[in-house]
Subunit: 339 residues, 4 copies
Amino acid sequence: MIKIALMGAGRIGALHARNIAASDEARIHVVYDTSAAAAQALADRYGATAVDSADRVFEDAQVDAVFICSPTDTHVPFSERAVRSGKAVFCEKPIDLNLESVMSIVALLREYPVPFMTGFHRRFDASTRRIREHVDTGRVGELEFMRVMSRDPGPPPPAYVARSGGIFRDMTIHDLDLCRWLTGREFTRVFARGFNLFDAGTKAEGDFDTATATLWDDKGFSVVLQNSRRSNGGFDQRIEVMGSAASVGMENVPLTQTRLILPDGLKCDALPDHFPQRYGGAYVAQLAEFLSAVKERRQPMTTAVDGVAALQLADACALSAANQTVVGIEPIALSLGVK
Amino acid sequence: MIKIALMGAGRIGALHARNIAASDEARIHVVYDTSAAAAQALADRYGATAVDSADRVFEDAQVDAVFICSPTDTHVPFSERAVRSGKAVFCEKPIDLNLESVMSIVALLREYPVPFMTGFHRRFDASTRRIREHVDTGRVGELEFMRVMSRDPGPPPPAYVARSGGIFRDMTIHDLDLCRWLTGREFTRVFARGFNLFDAGTKAEGDFDTATATLWDDKGFSVVLQNSRRSNGGFDQRIEVMGSAASVGMENVPLTQTRLILPDGLKCDALPDHFPQRYGGAYVAQLAEFLSAVKERRQPMTTAVDGVAALQLADACALSAANQTVVGIEPIALSLGVK
Amino acid sequence: MIKIALMGAGRIGALHARNIAASDEARIHVVYDTSAAAAQALADRYGATAVDSADRVFEDAQVDAVFICSPTDTHVPFSERAVRSGKAVFCEKPIDLNLESVMSIVALLREYPVPFMTGFHRRFDASTRRIREHVDTGRVGELEFMRVMSRDPGPPPPAYVARSGGIFRDMTIHDLDLCRWLTGREFTRVFARGFNLFDAGTKAEGDFDTATATLWDDKGFSVVLQNSRRSNGGFDQRIEVMGSAASVGMENVPLTQTRLILPDGLKCDALPDHFPQRYGGAYVAQLAEFLSAVKERRQPMTTAVDGVAALQLADACALSAANQTVVGIEPIALSLGVK
Amino acid sequence: MIKIALMGAGRIGALHARNIAASDEARIHVVYDTSAAAAQALADRYGATAVDSADRVFEDAQVDAVFICSPTDTHVPFSERAVRSGKAVFCEKPIDLNLESVMSIVALLREYPVPFMTGFHRRFDASTRRIREHVDTGRVGELEFMRVMSRDPGPPPPAYVARSGGIFRDMTIHDLDLCRWLTGREFTRVFARGFNLFDAGTKAEGDFDTATATLWDDKGFSVVLQNSRRSNGGFDQRIEVMGSAASVGMENVPLTQTRLILPDGLKCDALPDHFPQRYGGAYVAQLAEFLSAVKERRQPMTTAVDGVAALQLADACALSAANQTVVGIEPIALSLGVK
């Protein structure tokens, strides 16, 4: 059994804890949170120990792997200490909002090559993976272009926006990671735009509530992204990759497969509210991949380099949107000799 | 150009007239109706002659083909005279409500083998034909069972019901013809039920507003039919044939391919109101097949024997529903050595 | 925490065990199986005790509830002992193949009113429940008719068939339960047919591989069922209820929401292989309902009477298919004053 | 009956001729083509007169309306002469590839206000119109963004490309017109990119085979377009408009509504080959609107100004793609005080 230390007993920490408890491969060993009560509650539920000092986690020789689910500004320091302690790390996205900080983790991992996973859970969704299968097996043929639509059910509170790094680093980054992963392409140019259409709170924080980006690579493969902090039908997540032989896409997943025939048309069921409902299975599959990587002492499917690469694209989007110009990118992933 | 005589200038006659006018192969030569005004109006519209006597149609040597769209009780006498005059005949369904009368036409056609088509327009619908293609090419494999759902938008007026021959001979008969045609099977047993759920007018005429039937053949291939004189979403027409290798079916055809994403689910467009909207294209394709048969001096795809066979099944359904027992059938089509 | 005794450590027992382990409300206390090794393996996995005598389960005062997942012929004796011991019971379907035996459990429960659940897991599927919601809230209006399609991926082994009670009691029974539950109707007449189309092993056991049934109630509400032991696309499960205001149905649930646009058409993903994949979530929801009933000392949503009622309908189907006549039913559920 | 002169007896001319012949409101009076044989053949078919001089068309006082279906370089001169002769004009798209030339027609129409229609047939497609209905009635709410996907089945011959004005003026222009029409917005900024992915012939002519464009207006409403000269599944035409209350889109229209259930998934039917199959009904509806406008002596739904406005956007796309910068637009439609 892999013994796991959970850093952060908030909403996302609790989600991971539940999946770890249901796994045959791992158990929660220790829970840390700045709120001792929160740590204790979660520890009690799963028969783990609560601690009030992060030090006790990193010093505990029984801990095999650390799940970093604490606030973003702790991700890098906790990651560094875990890596130096020889523990495997699962770090929630983003590793950091600053590219150089994330790069420092990549550098550290060359010295201490422990399994390190960045939490891009959407790669593990069954529909998303099926897209990649069809691309990988050649069924789609030569890739031509791609589109991604991603809409949150509603805008986050201003306090969240303030620390989010902006829509491109907070929301678009997931789509950017998928663009890289699903196609195996590294994008070298981006043109992005942000708009303030409906949320005064977001605007007050200097962020956009709506965004679009066009990225392309040196072969002319291009992708268009559309993001909004508001949707009119739950959590809207769609992807399509067009190739010479087929196009493969992912439609939204309705809550059920019921169909109503009404006088004014056929009606399908509503969409999931938000990511925990839509991607519940993806979090389970993500955990399985992490635990496999820990057991096999290998890097998992989503590495620290993936975190760097997605952030680099998000930074380029933000810069393009600020200046309304095309921004060139020299893909770090390529210069690191990865992929 | 094939010169056509139109018997009956009512709603269905006008529908055929429009299609004939748009065809490159035929034109309307003469129009007969008991209402001289109706005949004149239609004749004027398409540059034809109106006549007030059916005799003048059958005596007119220029008439190549007769479209019988007059009331049901005239179908057999008009058919007989047209056949004896050597003219090709398109006869709206049903040829007659009495099986022996219809058989008399079949017998007559052995003597005068003119092209004779029974108006089972649904065979010519693009989706329906595609089902048959998949059955014929073997893609469905060995046939196992089938289901048919057919719902009218609303009950017909009592006067119509009174002369309709009852739901099985008026409505189910179309489904029965499709069951035969799509599968190439002749059914030998039937169990049917009729219900009075909602329409007092239908009940007053001694007819059912809702019906179901199960038919099977000697190999154990079975079909279930569900019919209703009421729908909750337009004209509902669905078919599915299950086989060892695939199942092939036909969903309803919405008016457009628009999709609304609403807070409570995805919404497609409404269905067509009734058969002229749903099967507009089928009537055009049916006409093309008839004109080809006339040119090639051959029997068309839907023959008088098909009219007999479908009516025989409808009669068996009606008898079964009346007695609530299984009714055996000796398929006339087989005894006639057809198919 | 509700302490559960698991009778039977086979495939379905293991499925329930996994769900119990993941629940916050219950834990597995003891495991019994005629194979001591199987009992021990499952007990070890979830920190429970293995026993080699059923007596030790019923005598154990700590056991709150018994899950009966052992062979069918043990369901009644184990149920009786559990009920007399005051323990709540979850009994896998069928309680027994003999209607009088099942009735004896119903009678016993009047004396010892412990929570008793019959395992009709399909009621707990999200799509199925949504159908019932739409019926209950009146969105469907007055019910008119219904159709159910249920196809297994492939025929079971002859040994299974031999003890199954036949296709109507083994397979159709699930559909019959849903017909009652989704509509609240008790059916009073049935006409059923069985066919031997493809599986010699099934035929050798005197059972059918394909079946169809038509049931109706005193108001003329009717349902047609189609069942097959073979499918051409995974586990095929479809339902539709037609009413005066809307029709509500359940389409199959594809494995993912990927869509391929190919030269010859749009392609969706495959269906689940069989019931564990299709109804995984339904088993979890079923457990939650059972545990709630245990905590609240009430009867769960699927009672022993539901087991009786479904078996009565299955018996009537089997009799009708044997004699090819309509079979009348006096609904036991009504005579018991239930529902 | 409106008497129509057809200029150009090629493929698109023949398509319009067939629709005119089927109309109750109009008939073909005269046909002109540089090929006397082509003009004669079409004239014979519909009982019209063939002429070998365009002069004879404009001098013929009986001609009510002129359909200009001749090569693009004749559109402006023929339009001018028809307008000055007081005849209504239907002019195939594009009016001209040069914006100033098209503007000259707009100016001329102020002097001679005859009905003048630009052939943007896609506005008349039933699904497309339904989108606009949902936008107009407010069901979509405040508009936020839009996406358009348009893929031809295969690249045109190099000779066509050479005279086409490039992908933006030839193909994207239809999408640009729809963006304006469906939303009522005038776009003020565009960023576009063109790529050469697969067709050497197109590249040799200095044109792109793949293109993308992002346009936005002063309120921040944005649209992304994706175009390709190649598809993998017929003629691919999709649109979606996202608003505060709903999103409304148009999926592709399959040839039939057949569904195959196959071992590896559900399969729908193929898409239409190209625009005549997909937009056959749209051409009929476009004709009806033109004839109504002629009868009512009003401008039709798609005016010469619409031709100017779409070309202005296409020009901006082409310029942006050439320079890889954002291009600003001062909407001519606004300065003309139209809309």
